[in-house]
Symmetry: C2
């Protein structure tokens, strides 16, 4: 036993446990762990479900609009879209009214994939598996939206 016993067993954090930046990083790590545990074997990467989900809801959405909506940079979106196209989950179309742009749609396989995985992403069987009861999870979501500067519905 030495002079460092207390430090080695329970280091002081001095308010770090109240820092939103620190806490958000820890929680993000937890999300990624849970995500890979559930979706890793399906070769699904974080972000890809969200991208496919928004295309599913907005067939023909412009690639740039999708990128801005999900805060994904253009260069990274290109790579993700090409990857999903190679997997035959989405299709790209160059519209005649603006041949610079790209419009995205789910393929039949993509729609099928979303239908299969939807409950695992949302819903009670969600990959999250966190200890928050529904009311607190909803309040956490509300505060995160406000933190991020998202407009509130029904405000």
């Amino acid at each position: 036993m030495g002079v460092h016993d207390q430090i080695d067993q329970q280091p002081a954090l001095g308010g770090l446990e109240d820092s939103l930046g620190f806490l958000l990083r820890i929680c993000q790590l937890r999300v990624y762990e849970a995500f890979y545990e559930r979706f890793g074997e399906d070769e699904l990467r974080p972000g890809e479900f969200s991208v496919m989900w928004v295309i599913h809801l907005n067939p023909g959405i412009r690639q740039g609009v999708l990128a801005a909506t999900l805060r994904i940079k253009a260069a990274q979106m290109t790579k993700m879209v090409r990857r999903l196209e190679e997997q035959d989950k989405i299709s790209r179309e160059i519209p005649d009214d603006d041949r610079r742009s790209v419009r995205l749609t789910l393929t039949a396989m993509g729609e099928s994939f979303i239908a299969d995985q939807q409950a695992a992403f949302f819903g009670n069987e969600s990959y999250h598996n966190h200890p928050l009861p529904p009311a607190e999870a909803a309040e956490l979501a509300r505060l995160l939206r406000k933190y991020a500067g998202f407009a509130e519905a029904g405000a």
Copy 2:
């Protein structure tokens, strides 16, 4: 004007805006942007302040204990510690009672750095600059701690 007007202006999100995984990623992006805006010129990286802060509060802390506390992997912690040592912000010591381990302490320059930047990391002049009033920020922190599985003080 075309059939995609609605989609291009306000794509439907279909509940994605309630997903904690999605929201945590967006909020994390915001944190990093704010962090680099404030600390980027000081060559400080996310994680480095937290590491130095915990060493400041727990001088002589073992490197592995520090890594476990802050959820940083051992290999990455080695690199961060070497970098901070090169910058003369921390010092490494091999203790006689266990010569496998490494104990970390802030140098005078490290202590001075923490003293200078403390208010910019915590406090009201924090780099965060989010729109949450104090009570909601505190509630957000509480929910994030619970989400992450942190033990509550005074529970």
